[in-house]
Symmetry: C2
Subunit: 191 residues, 2 copies
């Protein structure tokens, strides 16, 4: 999506540790008009898919998922992150390792809100190693639901997450795919 790429070049920045900082418009302050156009783009890209629920993970995926749910006229669910290893029986959960924070957490969704009847579009802001996304997919599968697709704002194309999930046969639509970025020069190149 040309507009998102241009916005990343204008307002995004590259930080040491392979961080793409987009908190001006995507995950702290949120340009809701841009998000609305992104949601409309996913609506077009997944036009041939049956989708009756949007799933994301707190916190930075929620605004994206909410506007996308509005566009698709379906409910949304956000998975919660929990540090506790003591998971109750009322939830589906998946362990996720975070490279950013170098710790492990659990993704949790109440069993009441995902079931075999659900055809799920997963939405998230950034895809890199794909650990959070694999966790969300595992949660959907635990529920006997199916993944209709994955919508990502920014994918780091040089990281393994996108390939891992596409190799599962899942349609992944990343609206901007970074081919290369450099925190020394600040340069960002798209695929």
């Amino acid at each position: 999506m040309k507009e998102l790429e241009e916005r990343i070049l204008k307002d995004g920045s590259v930080r040491p540790g392979d961080i793409i900082k987009v908190d001006n418009f995507l995950n702290h302050q949120i340009d809701i008009a841009l998000i609305d156009r992104m949601a409309k783009e996913w609506k077009k890209l997944f036009a041939d898919k049956e989708i009756n629920k949007i799933l994301t993970v707190e916190a930075s995926g929620i605004a994206l998922a909410a506007v996308t749910a509005l566009e698709f006229s379906v409910p949304m669910v956000f998975a919660k992150k929990s540090a506790t290893t003591n998971i109750d029986k009322e939830v589906y959960s998946a362990k996720v390792y975070s490279y950013t924070h170098q710790n492990e957490y659990n993704l949790i969704v109440s069993k009441k809100y995902l079931g075999p009847e659900d055809k799920v579009l997963i939405i998230d802001d950034v895809l890199a190693n794909g650990k959070a996304l694999e966790g969300l997919i595992a949660v959907v599968q635990s529920a006997g639901a199916s993944v209709s697709g994955v919508g990502i704002a920014i994918e780091k194309g040089y990281m393994p997450g996108g390939k891992i999930v596409r190799d599962m046969g899942i349609q992944v639509e990343s609206l901007a795919i970074i081919a290369h970025m450099d925190d020394q020069t600040g340069k960002i190149e798209f695929a």
Copy 2:
């Protein structure tokens, strides 16, 4: 808002510890069509106010704030919660005591995303003691911005938060105000 009250009676439940559980439609699974009508209600209620930014706090306020921002055609910002006492100079922050979790955390907003030009509508899902809301107001004031109003989904009318904030001269619009609830009988009465 009659529809929200009826939905709370239908799908909400009262849990020990003065908890109103509404995770079926408001803060885990989210009925986005209902949220959209709530946002339109706030648009009417704050029609005479100048508003150029929506502010909320992660995580359960974000979906509400996103749809409200879309309705008002303004950007949104969500405050982050941080356990660290080590707050950098780039952020506005406020200490908040959580009665639910019985701990203290910091609300944090980057200084880049709030300033004297901002006329802020604060949105949140539940108002009880008002500690989180007071923290958000403090953050807005630290930025030299002004609070144009507060939109709350569910207010516990028997708790002090609503009165504290209205006594500051701030317009607070709670779409459902619980006058009384009882976890023994499950009964919920509105003001």
